[in-house]
């Protein structure tokens, strides 16, 4: 059984290598398709063993969460959890240090894997059920408080020069207003998708996917495609300029952010990263980048691991929800299987990071950066169209319009998460339906 599970993990991890390199493709979309395939197998009377598909799925998520750093940094097509790594990551890329930046975030991802195995592994079954028991009735206000924080802490980027007065004030508030508008419009889009989704019922599990693609991936691809930025010659370094202290600080910051995001509903890796970044006040760019690597892995893989924690009964993240439809973990053995799969997949993914990054850099030498962005855009459009049809493309276009606001005005792209935060916070507080009725969605 161990060899079967190991083979499944490795298959999932290797597959995730290719999937991670496709910019804009989210692993949950692939997992959804895999689940559909398993359902159809069940329908034909062929039963598949959980020892095969669970490690496979874990391999997919773990491998992807480690390796999707490569397109995020080198090809500039981030998923939501990577929006903070992109800015410093792209700075590394534009100074010829794309390989170093990618490997630095990769080192953070490895720390994240260590934290999951050696910290969360033994401690989660003992402490997390208590935390869940205490906080469960309070999730709604925690979510509202997080929304308040996101909205209140955007920093005005303008208004730094000129005489005092309204002109200066409006200059400063252009970015802030753009951020608020983005959040509001995303929230309305979220309500629309939740209460009167135009996506067909057959693809309801991919309901939010076109909106996410539009809000996060498409604006970035468009910007790259039209910006005409020339990527300089990239240098491969032998060592990373980091030490144990930096790794430890990154681990703490990223672990807290990713762990928070994994545990609380709707809170994503990007939000976790924002909160941890503020809380730990780390200024060093290397700590920042590595902490985002930690946060990403802890968020995606940790959320999936929570599903297997004995006595916790917690389903967080798209991956866990997809697996929940197929299998319910019952024993500590399932938890050990999940931990072992994460360890194996995490180790293999990290080892694959360097060759895959080098391969991508070689590809970038041969193919124009803008062409890659256009190619990424085509993949995203094809994927959205194949799963959700013309309606999905329309939703994606609306999402793109909203997602372009922060890109154009220089406000936080995290505001686009209003698409999830606003409707779900309203629902959790019991005001979702009145708001939907006010918006004439009922």
């Amino acid at each position: 059984m161990i060899f079967t599970a190991a083979a499944s993990v490795l298959t999932g991890t290797v597959l995730s290598c290719f999937l991670a390199l496709l910019p804009g493709l989210h692993i949950y979309n692939v997992m959804g398709l895999a689940a559909l395939f398993l359902y159809s197998l069940h329908g034909t009377g062929i039963a598949s063993m959980p020892e095969v598909y669970i490690p496979f799925m874990i391999g997919l998520v773990t491998g992807w969460s480690v390796l999707n750093t490569i397109p995020s940094v080198l090809l500039g097509a981030p998923d939501e959890s990577a929006i903070f790594t992109v800015l410093p990551g792209q700075k590394y890329l534009m100074t010829g240090r794309g390989y170093e930046g990618t490997m630095m975030i990769g080192a953070g991802s490895l720390i994240g894997i260590f934290m999951l195995i050696f910290l969360m592994g033994p401690l989660a079954p003992k402490y997390l059920p208590v935390v869940r028991y205490v906080l469960n009735p309070h999730m709604h206000w925690i979510l509202w408080v997080i929304i308040t924080f996101i909205l209140m802490t955007e920093w005005p980027k303008g208004g730094n020069r000129g005489p005092a007065g309204w002109r200066k004030f409006f200059d400063a508030w252009s970015t802030l207003s753009a951020g608020l508008l983005t959040f509001l419009l995303s929230g309305v889009l979220g309500f629309l998708l939740l209460y009167r989704t135009p996506v067909s019922i057959d693809n309801a599990f991919q309901n939010i996917m076109p909106a996410f693609a539009g809000l996060f991936a498409v604006p970035w691809c468009l910007l790259n495609a039209i910006s005409g930025a020339k990527v300089p010659e990239q240098h491969l370094c032998d060592t990373l300029n980091i030490n144990g202290d930096l790794l430890l600080r990154s681990g703490i910051a990223g672990g807290i952010g990713g762990g928070f995001a994994a545990f609380f509903p709707v809170v994503t890796g990007g939000i976790g990263g924002l909160l941890a970044g503020h809380a730990t006040a780390q200024r060093d760019e290397r700590v920042f980048m590595m902490s985002q690597g930690v946060s990403k892995v802890v968020y995606y893989t940790g959320a999936l691991l929570l599903f297997f924690v004995p006595g916790l009964y917690l389903t967080r993240g798209g991956g866990a929800w997809i697996i929940k439809g197929l299998y319910a973990p019952r024993t500590p053995g399932d938890y050990c299987l999940a931990l072992g799969s994460i360890a194996l997949s995490g180790a293999v993914s990290f080892l694959l990071m360097s060759p895959l990054t080098k391969w991508t850099l070689k590809l970038m030498k041969k193919v124009d950066y803008r062409l890659i962005s256009v190619f990424s855009l085509c993949i995203i459009i094809a994927l959205v169209f194949s799963i959700t049809g013309w309606t999905g493309l329309f939703v994606m276009a609306v999402g793109t319009g909203i997602g372009l606001i922060p890109v154009l005005f220089g406000s936080r792209r995290l505001n686009c998460l209003g698409v999830l935060l606003l409707p779900i916070a309203c629902n959790m507080s019991g005001i979702g339906e009145p708001v939907a009725a006010f918006l004439r969605l009922l």
Binding site: V134, H140, F149, W155, N243, H278, A279, S429
Partner: protein, 326 residues
Amino acid sequence: MKGIAHFISGVTVASFCPWAIEAAQNGNPSFFILGAVAGLLPDTVDFKFYRFFYHYDVSVEPDPLQLDPQPIADALAAAVSNAAETGRPVRVKLSTIKMSADNWRQYRVRIDSGAGEVRVQFGPVVSTGQVPQPDSLPMNRSVAVAKFSAPVRQSYEPGYTVDIFDGPGFMFKRNENGDVEVDFLPWHRSWSHSLTVGALLAGIASFWTWKAGAVVFGAYVLHVIEDQMGYMGSNWFFPFTEKRVPGFKMMHSGDAFPNFAGVWLCCLLIFWNVYAAIGNPLYHFSFFRFIMTAMVVPFAIFGLIRRLLIRADRRLPEMLSIDWNV
């Protein structure tokens, strides 16, 4: 303290109010949101509203292409002398030097009251995260010196670093002894950071319910108290007092450890308050055991591991610092 520390402190204040927890259990998050907003509000008022309307008499705009520190030193020294001679307050703004979307030229200013001079020196290009960029120090890093004649009293530190976003402002004002007082960021922590304004806002919130007023006042006051731990202090009783009460100088607002420890402690207190509100809890643990398990032991382990790692690295913790001669 940093924004998140004030913010979570406000939430913590709300968690100490039984009515806030009860309302939250019934699906009403208002008190917690109020606490959070009030906790951050003093800084929001200053940084997002008031500072854009604050008038300066002199605005110093260094030339990014010709890095000459002398005009900056001269302008500050002249402002001190002018304030001493005329008795009228002189407000000076030092602008930042933006090099590109995410890069800024750093410079440092020292108002040395003992030597009676202002010294200015340019430094490296830093990112918006205030991290120096490699090989970005200017070729010529001469120190500009400009003398002033009047005695100067400073309530803040004598050295100021100018780098990202909006530059610092100063108000030079002659006091009754003839000394010129240096008021750093005169628009910050003045009227907005006062108990009276907190009470006023609490009064407004009390139109809804006195419970909301209590949360707002508690969160607002805690912000002022937390800021008092730093250097600048706050003007506690505006409009009855004009000046800020100097801070206790226990920490700088951007220090990582106190900020993180504060945020973590607040999270634990919120958790404890929520736990204590459960009538017949399934799990039982004491406050002492909780704090030991969730704060004391992890922090001790972190400190120990960090020490071992730094020792294993056989050098001091890496600092991204630049030598300054001001």
